[in-house]
């Protein structure tokens, strides 16, 4: 299997302000969000990062999408370094997170064209891709409606489609089904399977066990910024359910603090 993503000993810390220290009830001025994290993802697989809130999943994905830089370590995406070649990395990835929002004023049609231009997608390719994706997600009927007037589900679908405007090899989704109704959530999870079938690599972060069990090939369990377990879903769930494995690891690390 071809190695598409290789994360190597990545660490990220954040300096806390006095206010943040008080809010989090912490004495230390520096918070280690991601601690010496390593994992690999292969072509045509869906890799899931599973962990509780504040475990470092989003920070990891933000580093992979080059929005923030690691303090140490590096990750190679299609052989390109997120530290040394961030612009080239951005050409190869599609990133979708609740932090990245679309401008309410514009229509899905305009936004698709705009982001295609930002990724230098040729006009004819863009036109064909837009038609296919809009039809696949039922956006074609709403393509001229401003994002502000779309339903939450339709907004999420538009964000997803726009993040795929440049047909990236790696798609990074932070909590892909968060806040979605059951129908839109199913559309998104089904589409993740389609992406895998077309040879794309998908990295998702979630705290929903059922989503991981349903779509992922391999799983990395993160607690307190550290990779506690990383293996194929089949291996992890050979003897116990994913939920049982997770809580066992969580208790080992945090005691009975649940």
């Amino acid at each position: 299997m071809k190695e598409i993503l290789k994360v190597d000993s990545v660490t990220k810390t954040f300096r806390l302000t006095s206010k943040q220290q008080r809010q989090r009830k912490l004495d230390q001025k520096v918070l280690t969000a991601v601690d010496n994290l390593s994992f690999t993802a292969y072509e045509g697989e869906i890799f899931g990062l599973l962990g509780p809130n504040g475990a470092g999943k989003t920070t990891t994905l933000r580093m992979l999408s080059t929005l923030i830089k690691p303090d140490s370590g590096d990750a190679l995406i299609n052989g390109l370094s997120i530290v040394k070649q961030p612009a080239e990395v951005r050409r190869n990835i599609g990133f979708l997170t609740s932090d990245v929002k679309l401008e309410d004023f514009f229509t899905p049609d305009y936004l698709f064209d705009f982001f295609s231009d930002m990724h230098s997608v040729p006009d004819d390719v863009r036109k064909e891709r837009k038609e296919t994706l809009f039809k696949r997600f039922g956006i074609d009927k709403f393509s001229q409606v401003k994002v502000a007037d779309l339903s939450t589900g339709m907004k999420q679908k538009t964000s997803l489609v726009v993040s795929l405007a440049h047909d990236p090899d790696i798609i990074i989704f932070d909590e892909p089904t968060n806040g979605l109704d059951v129908i839109t959530a199913k559309v998104v999870t089904d589409f993740l399977g389609e992406l895998r079938q077309s040879g794309k690599t998908v990295i998702i972060s979630t705290h929903i066990f059922s989503l991981i069990e349903k779509v992922c090939d391999r799983v990395g369990i993160i607690i307190d910024g550290k990779m506690i377990k990383c293996s194929s879903l089949d291996e992890i769930t050979a003897e116990k359910s994913l939920e049982d494995v997770f809580f066992e690891l969580y208790r080992e690390r945090k005691g009975d603090e649940i």
Partner: protein, 397 residues
């Protein structure tokens, strides 16, 4: 491959021109409102001046017939009263029933008849004019009464006249251009700077801090377009938008000032805006353009450092103080700065050059230095903005 800055520039303009409400409030309304407000103030003042020709009621004790006759020609209605009615009529002035109460001494006419240049000043009779400064009618009548009494006094002891010959002689040698130039140079730089600042501050925080606040900036930052190009596209688009708003306000001011001045001095035609030619307008547009670029860059830096539009609004307040201070400091300054370094000081250089343009004393080198300095500072500002956009603590902190 399309240029990233151009793509962002087009997107920002599409946002601006596509939003009818934003377009009306930031481009059409400022100019229109300024024009209407200034014109309304001018016509109100004019009405006030016209009202001053209305008739006035005045009570008088011992007023000589010759003075009464002169006052009647000036629409005064004189009621003759006795000295012991003075207090009663003073009360009427206070209650705004009549405009004035004038009291002449008993022997006023005989003293005047016997007056000569050797009469000691201690023996000169006093005329008391009671008026009410809180009554517009009384306030208008008072200077008319004083002028009339002064002219009567002058007629009695006229030694020489000043500027009394009126036939075909204009004592003010200033041309229409000079009068307009002096006034415009005093007023317009302050007004223009304030309007430009307002125009910039209405748009830049929303475009940068607003995008940060709403999370839409991240979608731009995960594209392969270099951040310097994203900034350049945004700054240029914001400059165009602010320029439109600023020009609209400037036009509104420029066109309504003659109406305002007409209301103030009561004369029509002394202030004319058509005295300025293409040269002045070109210089002005170049100056405004470079200043808008600088202001947008500075406000963009401040907006990038802010976490929300509200915070950006608070953080740009000191800049407003600077703009106002620089503009007002130069308002009454008559000396034209000739040294090179004055035109390297941001904002001050623009105000100084604008004054020169409006007073028809354009020095091309000064305008060139001003524009070059503004563009240079803007370039440095864009460099700082790029650094800030690359700083994750600033962008996502």
């Amino acid at each position: 491959m399309k240029n990233g800055a151009l793509i962002v520039f087009k997107k920002e303009l599409a946002r601006f021109f596509g939003d009818r409400r934003l377009l009306i409030t930031s481009v059409i309304m400022p100019g229109l409102l300024i024009y209407l407000i200034y014109s309304f103030i001018g016509s109100s003042m004019n009405t006030l001046v016209e009202d001053s020709t209305a008739s006035y009621k005045a009570a008088a004790v011992n007023m000589p017939a010759v003075i009464a006759a002169q006052l009647e020609q000036m629409n005064f209605e004189i009621e003759t009263i006795t000295p012991d009615q003075t207090e009663q009529y003073k009360e009427k002035v206070r209650s705004k029933d009549i405009s004035l109460c004038v009291v002449f001494p008993d022997d006023f006419e005989s003293v005047m008849a016997n007056y000569n240049s050797k009469t000691p000043s201690s023996d000169v009779p006093n005329v008391s004019v009671f008026y009410n400064s809180s009554d517009i009618n009384s306030s208008n009548a008072y200077p008319l009464m004083i002028t009339t009494l002064d002219s009567v006094e002058k007629e009695l002891s006229n030694v020489f006249d000043v500027n009394a010959l009126t036939d075909d002689i204009s004592y003010d040698v200033a041309t229409e251009e000079d009068t307009t130039g002096t006034l415009m140079a005093m007023i317009l730089p302050v007004v223009i700077m304030t309007l430009l600042y307002s125009s910039c501050v209405a748009l830049a925080p929303e475009s940068i801090a607003g995008e940060k606040e709403r999370g839409t900036i991240a979608s731009l930052l995960i594209t392969p377009v270099p951040r310097s190009q994203i900034i350049l596209g945004k700054v240029c688009a914001l400059s165009v938008m602010s320029l439109l708003g600023g020009m609209s306000s400037f036009l509104g001011t420029f066109l309504s000032i003659p109406k305002l001045m007409q209301g103030m001095d009561g004369e029509s035609g002394s202030i004319k805006t058509d005295v300025y030619g293409a040269k002045e307008y070109i210089c002005l547009i170049v100056l405004i353009l470079s200043t808008v670029l600088l202001l947008i860059t500075v406000i963009s830096i401040i907006s990038t450092l802010a976490k929300s539009v509200k915070e950006a609004g608070t953080m740009v307040m000191p800049l407003m103080m600077v703009v106002m201070l620089v503009s007002f400091l130069t308002m009454y300054q008559t000396e034209v700065k000739t040294e090179f370094f004055w035109y390297c000081i941001p904002l001050y250089n623009t105000v100084e050059c604008m004054k020169n343009v409006f007073s028809f004393s354009i020095v091309s080198q000064n305008i060139a230095v001003t524009c070059a300095a503004n563009i240079l500072y803007s370039g440095a500002g864009i460099f700082v903005l790029t650094k800030l956009f690359n700083n994750e603590r600033v962008m996502f902190g």
